[in-house]
Amino acid sequence: MQPTQLILTLRLRAFGRWVQAHSFELFFLGPVIVGGALWVLHRHLDHLRVPISRLVESPTQPYGLPITDILAFCLLLFVLRLPATFRELYSARDGASILDVLPVSSTARFHVSLAAEWAAMLPTFLILLTAAGVLQGRLLPPLTSMPSVSWRLFSALSALAMLRMVTALCAVRWRFAFRGATTLLAALVLLALGLSSHQPFARLIFLPWVPPAAQIEALVRSCVASSTPTTESLWNKPLTQAGQLLGLYLLTRYLYTRWHRSNLGIARQLSNHRQTLGAQHVLSLLHRWLGARPLAAQITRDLILVARRFSPAVVLAAGIAVTAQGLALSLLLDDNLPMLWRQRLAVSGFSLSVLAMVALVPFLLKHQLPRFWIEKTTGVELEQIWKAKLWTAAVLGLIPAGFGSIVLLMAPNLGATAKGIALLQLLAATWIITSILGLAVFEIAAQPVLGLIFGSLVASALAALIVFYPHAWWLWLIFHGYAAGQIAGRASRRVQLVEVER
């Protein structure tokens, strides 16, 4: 067997085991939740179908859908996956990869990485396209358009994968530290530039993403619209696409085989050195201020790990939080909406950003499980262990909530009463989300996704109650008190049951 095939087979086997381990969530719980949500929301989805079809089938832009939106989508996918691409190429977090010391050719490793990068985005695309199709009342695109859909999916994913690989290779070569916040900021600046300007400079910056964006735009049209695309741009012609892909493939392969091996040392340095900078001094001060107490030590440790991006989930959560904040801000400033809805939607957006940040806590605990012996063997009270996670959730939630509160207070088109109500609603929603998710974190410590789903459902339902039915505040207070009391009552036992890995 060729090395490429051998490595891919092993990775597929590992993936198969992962699917097997998560089969309950993937094949039962997930479909039940999604199906239940669709069943509850199906009447509202009917209303959405009309504007989406109108947007796609009566294009006002050269590419059908506004190209800036598709470009923004491409850029988001690109940025969110970039840290994972870095790890895929350099195994920097796990030390030297076994492949670095085995006689495996650079070309074989390049193809493995390319396949992994390609496959990593496939589920996201399939879910989005299926969701787009479901919104239009069908699960699959018409059979006649399947070949073109497959080709577009392949070329869009390939182009995005290779763009990420080229970026990662160049960034390491030129010693640009892969900091999530920096990357995210750069993407936002680019996004703002692209959305607000039609200057040639902005177009030039976006040029690499235009081919995959054109593919995605055609892809969405194929899945959503009743007919195949009628407008063919330069980027949509199969020959042009094949030429672009071939060029990008040759460039990526050349850079990989030329730079990858010599980049390994630089990547390792970047991965470690950059982590000692940043929030260290602030957190050190925080530690001194809180004192050497078990609770303070755990909260400080948690915040340091989040600040140093213990997982790509941190970038993802920050991205979702920033996007939700931006969405809330734009809805708040939209004078076409009635004031009540501006207030409700803005508070919902800010609450979503709180949820995104607090959702990190279950993943933080999962990351800490192999090191849980530290807490378990130092005589810390079980109560202080779960309370530390509650406080970490509160601190993480208060960051976006604080920003949201400032925005709400400064909103020019909300009255004083509306501002006050919105502020109270946001703070109450933050309290509910942080307390429920922070308390529930030990419920299913080894399965953060499952814990997150349950916690988010309860917290979102209660937060929605506050935003949309504020006069029934006593109801959510009772529900919240009951739910939080139930979880808190068994939290210590849950902590005790957490196994320390051998």
């Binding site: 050497a292 078990p294 090191r371 530290i374 378990k376 810390v380 079980l382």
Partner: protein, 257 residues
């Protein structure tokens, strides 16, 4: 309304008792499915250095985990300074410093931050002591470097400092020599001897028999979960019928034959 009177045994378990040996392991058994990891193990340690020896898979790590109540015993009791660890694990753990064999640390914390974390969890305010330990093991100039960049020996030193700082009354060191250079091994031995003189009880596992022979007052040898020898190195030699042979040969006979 009056509270239920406590029995004398409960009163003893609820607080440390200086009259009792620091560590008592009494007839402890533990199995994982059909695998009997510990089979009626009994031993004591009090103010001395006990070597816990055995081949890979003999049950040493399971015994450490049982002492810390990370794994519940199927039968038998373990007491630390009078605390029954099954009932008062938190109180018992406050008296212990532990170095596991598989040392999982946070790659994204620096060595200093790691020690700060452990000190915080133990409620110790000991900046100066931590700095002394780092100086002692030659880690002071690397204290702000992330653990992810440390060598195996440096990680081991962080684990050792975390276990030994604050003068624990009982130190459980599972394979403390792995990854240490010769100079660090010597320094560790000296520090263990010094702490033992001031009252810390040690239970140490190692495959380096010269270290064990030199440092341990007594040894306990486990084979497939059973205690096959227990006593001073000289008495264990006698027990094996090999009074003049190197201790390595004695160990191989008792642990493997």
């Amino acid at each position: 309304m009056s509270a239920e009177p406590q029995t004398s045994q409960e009163q003893t378990e609820g607080k440390p008792d200086a009259s009792q040996p620091m560590l008592i392991v009494d007839n402890v058994s533990k199995s994982y499915g059909t695998l009997l990891a510990l089979d009626g193990v009994s031993l004591q340690a009090d103010g001395d250095i006990l070597g816990l020896l055995g081949a890979n898979g003999a049950g040493k790590s399971t015994l450490y985990r049982s002492i810390l109540d990370l794994t519940a015993c199927d039968s038998g009791t373990i007491r630390i300074a009078g605390y029954d660890v099954g009932k008062h694990s938190v109180e018992a753990r406050r008296l212990i410093g532990y170095l596991p064999e598989e040392l999982h640390l946070y790659d994204r914390l620096s060595g200093w931050e790691h020690l700060e974390l452990v000190a915080g969890l133990k409620d110790l305010d000991n900046r100066a002591e931590r700095q002394d330990w780092l100086d002692y093991f030659g880690l002071a100039d690397r204290r702000n470097v992330l653990v992810g960049e440390y060598s195996l020996g440096m990680r081991k030193k962080v684990g050792l400092i975390a276990a030994l700082m604050g003068n624990p009354r009982l130190a459980l060191l599972d394979e403390p020599l792995n990854g240490l250079d010769t100079e660090s091994m010597r320094r560790l031995r000296l520090r263990i001897e010094e702490m033992s003189r001031t009252g810390t009880t040690f239970v140490v596992s190692s495959h380096v028999m010269s270290f064990v022979e030199r440092i341990c007052d007594r040894v306990a040898i486990l084979r497939q979960g059973r205690l096959t020898a227990y006593g001073t190195t000289e008495s264990v030699r006698q027990q094996a019928g090999m009074p003049d042979r190197p201790f390595e040969d004695v160990f191989l006979k008792l642990a493997l034959d």
